[in-house]
């Protein structure tokens, strides 16, 4: 009845209308920012008087923006690798090992996700000031990894739980050592989860802004930090370009994740 589109009567058009409005609401800012980056108006007038690529030229000509882009990529990659490797270890321990406190460990590993990021940021900042981790690559990477870890743990535990441990046992009885069995059987079988975890861990680092604001310094700032600081001084169309870059990269990665998931089915 109420869960069947054809039987909803006039109500269905109300729902469709709301759906369209919300879809527009969700799409509008993204489309807008992309269009703006090609607009010729210095003052971000919309619709713009003309179209141009000069803001893109300005973006790539500015070593500051370019360095920030590079920093974001490096930090994201390193943070993703760490979050996935550590997460995989934890997931194996929780779903395979005979761990008594597995439930508590799981909860503890998910905690950084539920804590307001601003609290974590201030806490890490306080620690980093003492440990000299501010404005360092390793500081960025580890603080991003802690935010990504809960997500990689969720994805990898799911992956492992949907994979029958008897397969690994069978391989062991075939003569493979535990690690060889994991390498030959378990990891290939959950490779989709592993790749997905890498992508989402990277995306989390790529978009991370609150902790990064505290971590950043003259040596190292990621793209979102550079965006944030520029934004607060001056609203230039180059910001729209940087934003477009950030969005485009995220969209490409999401698309890859979607294709992989679909192929995995």
């Amino acid at each position: 009845m109420l869960l069947d589109f054809r039987h909803l009567g006039a109500l269905r058009w109300v729902l469709v209308a709301i759906g369209l409005l919300v879809a527009g609401f969700l799409l509008l800012p993204v489309v807008f920012i992309v269009l703006l980056s090609f607009g010729s108006s210095r003052w971000l007038i919309f619709p713009p008087p003309g179209w141009t690529l000069k803001w893109y030229e300005a973006f790539f000509a500015d070593p500051g923006w370019f360095a920030a882009l590079g920093a974001s990529l490096r930090v994201g990659l390193a943070a993703a690798v760490i979050a996935v490797v550590f997460g995989l270890g934890a997931a194996l321990a929780m779903s395979r090992g005979r761990l008594r406190g597995a439930w508590w460990l799981h909860m503890l590993l998910l905690m950084p996700m539920v804590l307001p990021v601003v609290v974590l940021a201030v806490g890490i900042y306080s620690l980093a000031l003492r440990a000299g981790l501010n404005d360092t690559f390793i500081g960025f990477v580890l603080s991003h990894a802690i935010v990504a870890l809960p997500f990689t743990v969720i994805i990898l535990v799911n992956g492992l739980n949907s994979f029958d441990p008897s397969l690994e046992d069978a391989a062991v009885l075939c003569g493979a050592s535990r690690w060889r069995a994991r390498l030959h059987v378990t990891f290939p079988s959950i490779r989709l989860s592993i790749i997905t975890a890498v992508i989402f861990a990277f995306l989390i680092s790529w978009d991370e802004i609150v902790i990064s604001i505290f971590m950043a310094g003259p040596n190292l700032q990621t793209l979102p930090v550079k965006l944030w600081t520029t934004l607060r001084q001056d609203l230039t169309p180059v910001i729209a370009v940087a934003s477009t870059m950030v969005l485009a990269f995220s969209l490409i990665l999401l698309l890859i994740a979607a294709i992989l998931t679909r192929r995995g089915r």
């Binding site: 397969l167 069978a170 009885l173 003569g175 060889r180 079988s189």
Partner: protein, 356 residues
């Protein structure tokens, strides 16, 4: 048969619960032994301990005199087939069968030869290049069997390998497993909760109950001379009637209804007499009961409460005067004139087995 695999006072507990308690078994080389029991009775746990996938809490497992416990599972040289399909999904059938040979670094020629032998053994030559998910359940289990046998293990362990298959396929594969056992001479330890399967396949059956082995004997003995009421009830249907033996001079069992039946060679004492459903002939009380001489084998009288037609046999439920119920199986043509409510005599065809 001399002991080859000795399981010695083996126990396994998971926290508070004890899955296997103090099990000792001596298994000969080349034997086909089945662990039979209801689910949760510890069969798989014992098998996993033999495979090395679980560590015993106490006790020892010895193969030809040496303890297996310090040996890592991948070095035990044991083949195993699981209930669930455990083929490696991203490898083909041939690659799956060759996997253990690859792990053992056999040379290519030997691998190839053995692979062909194995494919022929399980009759899957034309499926060599398929992926597991393109095979039926029965085919997958046959590949798993080939993979487990490929490296000539000393022992083959199977944990309910046919439980997920449907009945007709099950029969086929049972025949195939039996054939493979006969042609390879492998020692096989087989877990099942299906008594018919156990009967069909095994040289000897170990009946499990609550983590202990209740009886370890040939299928014939298990059926005809069960060691406990549990075994009697789990394997086949059992009609147990309280029995009392008078003395050795008058070897007879007194049944609740007052009838007695001669049972030579029994020790005096109290016990329970086991009758299988096929141990009786049902006769209408009004037709020629007088002709029966109760003294020789005995009869029991009762009332039919239910008749179920099952095709090859008819099951008749009879209530005795004492209130006990007896299930009788008869050929259909012998029961055509019987109706629920009829008074009948059950003529006892065989001496009952007196449970210890």
């Amino acid at each position: 048969m001399t002991a080859w695999l000795s399981i010695d006072a083996l126990s396994k507990s998971f926290g508070q619960s004890i899955a296997v308690r103090d099990v000792s078994l001596e298994i000969g080389r080349g034997e086909f032994v089945t662990f039979l029991g209801p689910s949760g009775s510890g069969k798989s746990t014992l098998l996993y301990m033999i495979a090395g996938l679980e560590t015993p809490s106490t006790g020892d497992i010895r193969l030809a005199g040496d303890s297996l416990l310090p040996v890592a599972p991948n070095l035990r040289n044991i083949g195993m087939v699981f209930q669930r399909y455990t083929l490696i999904p991203h490898l083909t059938v041939a690659e799956n069968i060759a996997f253990p040979m690859k792990m053992r670094k056999w040379d290519r020629q030997r691998q190839k030869r053995r692979l062909e032998e194995m494919l022929a053994l399980v009759r899957l030559e034309e499926f060599a290049d398929r992926r597991p998910n393109a095979l039926s359940g029965g085919q997958q289990q046959r590949v798993a069997l080939a993979r487990a046998l490929a490296y000539e293990p000393e022992m083959l362990l199977m944990d309910e390998p046919l439980a997920a298959l449907d009945q007709s396929l099950k029969l086929d594969l049972q025949r195939e497993i039996r054939r493979i056992h006969d042609s390879t001479g492998a020692t096989i330890l087989y877990v099942t909760h299906d008594q018919e399967e156990a009967m069909r396949l095994s040289d000897r059956i170990a009946v499990f109950h609550n983590g202990t082995v209740e009886q370890f004997a040939t299928p014939g003995e298990i059926y005809q001379k069960p060691g406990s009421a549990f075994v009697a009830g789990f394997v086949g249907h059992s009609n147990l009637l309280p029995a009392e033996m008078f003395d050795e001079a008058h070897p007879a069992v007194a049944l609740a209804g007052g009838d007695s039946t001669g049972t030579p060679g029994l020790q005096p004492g109290k016990g329970a007499a086991l009758f299988r459903p096929e141990d009786f002939t049902v006769l209408r009380s009004d037709t020629g009961t007088a002709a029966l001489t109760a003294a020789q084998t005995g009869t029991i009288t009762g009332t039919i409460t239910d008749i179920v037609f099952l095709g090859p046999v008819v099951e008749i439920l009879v209530r005795l005067a004492s209130g006990a119920r007896i299930l009788v199986r008869q050929a259909p043509d012998l029961t055509a004139d019987l109706r629920p409510g009829d008074q009948v005599s059950l003529r006892i065809l065989r001496q009952p087995w007196i449970l210890p």
